[in-house]
Assembly symmetry: C2
Homo-oligomer: 411 residues x 2
C-alpha cells in the first residue's frame, strides 16, 4: 500500500474503491482491463484480511472437523474478525447460541445458477460444524428497486429461489428464511435505527449511487444491514438483554462487503457487535475466469434447471485452458487457471486427491481437454441431479417451516 | 408571478420554495422577516389553488350540511383538486366508498397542544358529512429519524397521542389508526413502489435535505405518501381492481404539502389517483400570529393536559391586539389580526354570530382586552374539559378497535 493510498484510506475508507482501477461493488464488478479480479489487491482495497493458515488450523482443532474444501482451496479467501467467531465457539455455553449465521440471495431470476450454490453450500457446512442458528434473507426489495421487474414476477422468483436454497439441505429447526417485502414489519424498527445512523454521502460513496438514484436505493443498505443485529429476529433471540453480545458471521461473495463495511461502522454506536465476515471469490462464467457467472446472461451460466444435454453442451463450449493443438498441449500442458471446467471442479469436487491428480495430469499435458470436460460434466450433472431430487421433495409445508416467525430456531 | 418565477416553476416546481424569501417545508416554517406567513404568496409558491366560494356553496348544496366554521372563516384556505372529491360524492354508489380521508400526526410530544386538534376536528366533520372511511397515520418513524428521541419514548408518545386523536370523536367503525413502526409490514410493497419512482434530488429539493441527511430522511417521503394509495390498506379496500379508481382527500396543515406534491407527481405512473388536498393555515403561538404553536416549546403552547389555572395564565399573558392604554384602546380599537385570544376564538368558537359580535365590539374598542381574554379562557377550558372527559373513556379495547387490521372500516 503506498502512502497516498494509506492516507486516503484513513480519511475515508468508503471512497477508496474508486482509487483503484478495478471496481467491485454489489452492483458492478469491473476488473482491470483484460485481466481477472485481483483478489490480493481487493483485500487491500476493502481493508479486510486474508484467511490465515493459522485460522484454518484452529478451526479444525476446535471443531474436530476437516476444513471444507472451499476453505482449503482459497475460494473463501478473505475475512473480517473471523477469529472472534472461533473465540465465541470456544467459550460457548448451551444456553445461548455463541453466534448466528446470516447469508442471503437477491432473487433476480426464476432459476439459480450453479455458482449461486457456493455460499449456501459453505454456509450449510458452517451451520453443521458450529451448530448455530442461520438466517437467510431474500432481498426481493433490492431487486425490485434495481431491476426492471414488477412485484408479482419477483414473488414467483422469490419462491422458486427459496426452494433452491432449501434444497441445499439446511436444517429447518435452525434455519429461518425470510423475504424483505413480507418480513419488513418485523425488522422496520431496527432498519430505522440503522437508517438514522448512515448519511446519504456514505452510501453514495460506498455503493456508487448518485442524486439521481431512486430513494429506495439510498435507503436499501439498512435492509441488508438489519439482519446483522439480533433485534431483527425477536422470535429467535428472545432475551433482548443479550442482543448486545450476540455475534453474527456472514458468509458471502466479496462484492457484498460494501454493505457490511457501512454496517460495521455503526454497529457499536447502536449497541450491537460488529458483524464478522468470510468472503468468497466470484464464480467464473463459462466464457472465462475474468468475468463472473451471471443469471441474467443465459450464455454465461449453467442453471440448476438445465437438462443434462444443456450442461454437456455448455461445458463442451466453455473456455478451455488446454493447448491450441494436441502437439502444443502435450508440450506445454494446460493452463489450469484459465480452464473453466477445471475451475468448476475446484468449487464442487470434494475429493482433494482426485482434484490434485487431475490438476497434475492436465497441467502436464498428459490428460486431454475432452477428458477433463467429461469429468466436469459428470460432476456437475451429479450435483444438479441431487439438487433436483431434494428440490422435488419440498412442499408448501417445508417452506412454511423455514419461514415460520413463531418458531424458536434454536434448541 | 413574474416571468423568471413562472419559467422556473415550469422547469422544476419542487425547487420553487427556495426562490421566495418565506420558506415553508414540513421541517421549517420561516416567514419574511418580521411578518406573518403570506398565505396568498404560499398558494402561488406551492402551485395550489384557493378554496373558492363556489366550492363551499357546492359542498353545502350536495351534502345539505352547513359548511364548517374552519372552512367559512378561511382557516382551511387552499386545495388541490377538491372539486374532484365533490364530483365523487355526487356520483357515489353504496358499494364502494366514493373516496377516503387520510390525515396524520407526528407524535413528538407526550401531550398534544390545542392547535393539533384543528385538522382532526375538521377531518371528523368531513367524515360525518361525507360518510367515508378515514385512515390516520402516526409518523413515529419520521419523528425518530428527525428528532433526538429513542423508540421506547416514541412508543409512549404515540399511544398518548392516539388517545388524543380518538378523543376528537371519530367513528371506530370507519376509522383506522396506525403507526408506521408497527404498520410498515402491511405497507412496504407500496412504499417500495413509491421509493422506486422518486429520485434523491427530488426529495432533497422539496424537503431541504442534503447529502449529509441520514438515509431514512431521504426515504421517508414514501412512508407518508403510501397512505394516499388504497393498496396500503388491503383490509379496507379489498377489491384490488378498484384501487386505481379510489380517490383520497387529505386535510392537513399547508406545511405538509411538499410530501404530497411529490406524491401527486408519481400517482398516475403507479396506476393510482392523485391525492386531493385541503390545506389549513398554521395555528398561532401564544407569542403572536407570526409564529406557529409548537409542542416542543412549552411557552408557546396550550396543552390538552394543562390545568384550568395554566390555561388562564397563558391566555392572560398571550399577545394582545388591544390598545396600549385604555385611552388608546377606546380611540383606535383592537387589532384583531394580532390578538391571539381572538384568533383562538376564530379556530374554536362555533357560534358565528357571537364571534362576529365580539370582533365588532373589540375592534371598535368598546369591548376590553380582559373581557375578550375571559371569553377565550372559558371557550378553551370548555374544549379541553370535553376533550379530557372523552379521553378518560378510552380503554385499550377502544384503541385496539381503531388499530384493528382485520376490520373492514366500511359498511
Amino acid at each position: 500500500m503506498n502512502n497516498f493510498v494509506r492516507n486516503t484510506h484513513k480519511l475515508n475508507k468508503h471512497y477508496i474503491g474508486r482509487l483503484y482501477s478495478q471496481v467491485v461493488t454489489p452492483f458492478e464488478v469491473k476488473a482491470e482491463q483484460g485481466s481477472c479480479v485481483n483478489y490480493d489487491k481487493l483485500i487491500e482495497q476493502f481493508g479486510s484480511d486474508p484467511i490465515s493458515e493459522e485460522q484454518i488450523r484452529r478451526l479444525e482443532a476446535i471443531t474436530g472437523k476437516k476444513p471444507h474444501h472451499l476453505l482449503r482451496r482459497g475460494v473463501f479467501f478473505s475475512q473480517r474478525n473471523f477469529s472472534d467467531i472461533l473465540d465465541a465457539h470456544e467459550k460457548r455455553n448451551s444456553k445461548v447460541p455463541p453466534f448466528y449465521l446470516y447469508t442471503g440471495r437477491g432473487p433476480s431470476s426464476q432459476s439459480m445458477h450453479i455458482g449461486h450454490l457456493i455460499p449456501f453450500i459453505f454456509t450449510k457446512w458452517l451451520q453443521d460444524t458450529f451448530d448455530v442458528p442461520l438466517v437467510i434473507q431474500m432481498t426481493d426489495d433490492e431487486k425490485f428497486l434495481w431491476k426492471d421487474l414488477d412485484q408479482k414476477t419477483l414473488r414467483t422468483m422469490t419462491v422458486e429461489n427459496i426452494k433452491d436454497v432449501i434444497a441445499v439441505g439446511f436444517d429447518p429447526k435452525k434455519t429461518f428464511i425470510f423475504n424483505n417485502f413480507d418480513y419488513m414489519g418485523h425488522m422496520y424498527r431496527t432498519v430505522s435505527r440503522i437508517q438514522k445512523s448512515i448519511t446519504t454521502s456514505q452510501v453514495m460513496g460506498c455503493l456508487g449511487l448518485t442524486n439521481s438514484s431512486n430513494i429506495g436505493k439510498i435507503a436499501f443498505t439498512a435492509s441488508q444491514a438489519a439482519p446483522c443485529f439480533p433485534s431483527s429476529f425477536p422470535h429467535i433471540f428472545r432475551d433482548e438483554k443479550l442482543n448486545s453480545k450476540i455475534k453474527c458471521l456472514i458468509p458471502c461473495a466479496i462484492d457484498q462487503d460494501p454493505f457490511f463495511r457501512i454496517t460495521r461502522d455503526i454497529s457499536n454506536k447502536l449497541g450491537f457487535q460488529k458483524p464478522c465476515l468470510i468472503h468468497s471469490k466470484f464464480f467464473p462464467s463459462l466464457q472465462g475466469n475474468n468475468s463472473k457467472m451471471s443469471a441474467s446472461d443465459g450464455m454465461s451460466s449453467i442453471f440448476l434447471t438445465d437438462t443434462d444435454k444443456q450442461v454437456q453442451s455448455k461445458i463442451n463450449k466453455s473456455m478451455s485452458g488446454g493447448g491450441a493443438t494436441l502437439e502444443e498441449h502435450e508440450k506445454f500442458g494446460a493452463n489450469l487457471h484459465a480452464d473453466i471446467p477445471y475451475q468448476y471442479m475446484r468449487f464442487f469436487m470434494e475429493d482433494n486427491d482426485e482434484l490434485e491428480r487431475i490438476g497434475r495430469e492436465y497441467s502436464s499435458g498428459r490428460m486431454r481437454t475432452m477428458e477433463v470436460k467429461k469429468i466436469a460434466v459428470e460432476l456437475l450433472l451429479d450435483i444438479i441431479k441431487g439438487h433436483k431430487q431434494r428440490r422435488e421433495q419440498i412442499t408448501q409445508q417445508t417452506i412454511d417451516d423455514f419461514m415460520n416467525t413463531s418458531q424458536d430456531k434454536w434448541k
